[in-house]
Symmetry: C2
Subunit: 158 residues, 2 copies
DNA sequence: GGCATTTAGTTGATGCTTCAACTTACTCCC
DNA sequence: GGGAGTAAGTTGAAGCATCAACTAAATGCC
């Protein structure tokens, strides 16, 4: 075991800030969606991903990858969303061991209803008051971290 | 209700990246600590805060504020840490409705034992390969967000 | 002094996440 | 073509977070 490479002063300061963001931002997002739409941020994200997919359907494993979640977590969430009537599970035509999650009309309406409040929250918690400069700082910072962490399975949008 | 101000293209791209970071980074940190030290990231953080406090003791509400957590969450965690023998609860001398969480020697040893692995994970998940430029991007980005979100209760270190 | 409010903390129920164990289907290949 | 191995998904148990309801101590104030 080599000597531990401790963080520099600057790294430590930045790390504390990042941890604070990691703790507080999710809580803020979660809170708004829970209060106003009775849905978790992760559920929202799943609905949003489905709404952008062709036929509003995706294989569970693909959905899990894009949502940065384990398959298990996703499976539980899809079960919940199914119970709420926002999604249905259907066997995948191509591969009989795969399953499709399909966004129902009801689910689409839910997403549309929840979106404005959520975007408003994102704006007010993050982007409002961020200049062009800071936006690109943030963008580069995320790129750098995602580079280390195993990049975003998010395909370049369009 | 005014028209929703949707996110610009650039904001949306950045937002997706940030969400990916928000999902993956905690999972990575959590995983390492759980595996190697059988402790959660939040528990680690609490031990670390206590270790820096005078007499290794803090009032629960102060600790909660610095850890960016609700008092309730903190109280539960202190109970767990107490059971593991890392912390004791003691009545606060100054104010009889306050409680102190005190880091035990055992808890201090635990922290010292867990630190190298954790720092190594932080380094490898975040800082390694971040140039000076990107580090300050990240720092500014965090500042900007924390400014919006209700700044860091983290006092300037020292 | 006595009542209302606020501050500090605790507790129990509920719900979500994780982990490990399991099933079922597909692939390789000999 | 029949196993060995892997890929996709499900499920149940255990642990942690959140919320609301609660106790108790301090403060304000009339």
């Amino acid at each position: 075991m080599a000597e531990t490479q401790w963080l520099s002063e600057a790294e430590q300061r930045t790390w504390r800030k990042l941890v604070a963001v990691l703790m507080k931002l999710p809580a803020g997002l979660e809170g708004q969606l829970q209060r106003d739409a009775d849905i978790s941020h992760f559920e929202y994200w799943v609905l949003a991903l489905l709404s952008e997919a062709p036929d509003r359907a995706m294989r569970l494993s693909a959905l899990a990858a894009q949502a940065n979640s384990s398959l298990s977590r996703l499976s539980h969430v899809v079960t919940r969303l199914e119970k709420k009537g926002f999604v249905t599970r259907e066997p995948c035509p191509d591969s009989s061991r795969s399953m499709l999650a399909v966004l129902s009309d009801n689910g689409y309406r839910k997403l549309v209803a929840a979106a404005p409040g959520h975007v408003e929250a994102v704006r007010s918690l993050v982007f409002e008051g961020l200049g062009v400069e800071e936006l690109s700082d943030l963008d580069r910072a995320c790129d750098a971290i995602l580079g280390r962490i195993g990049g975003p399975p998010v395909p370049p949008p369009r």
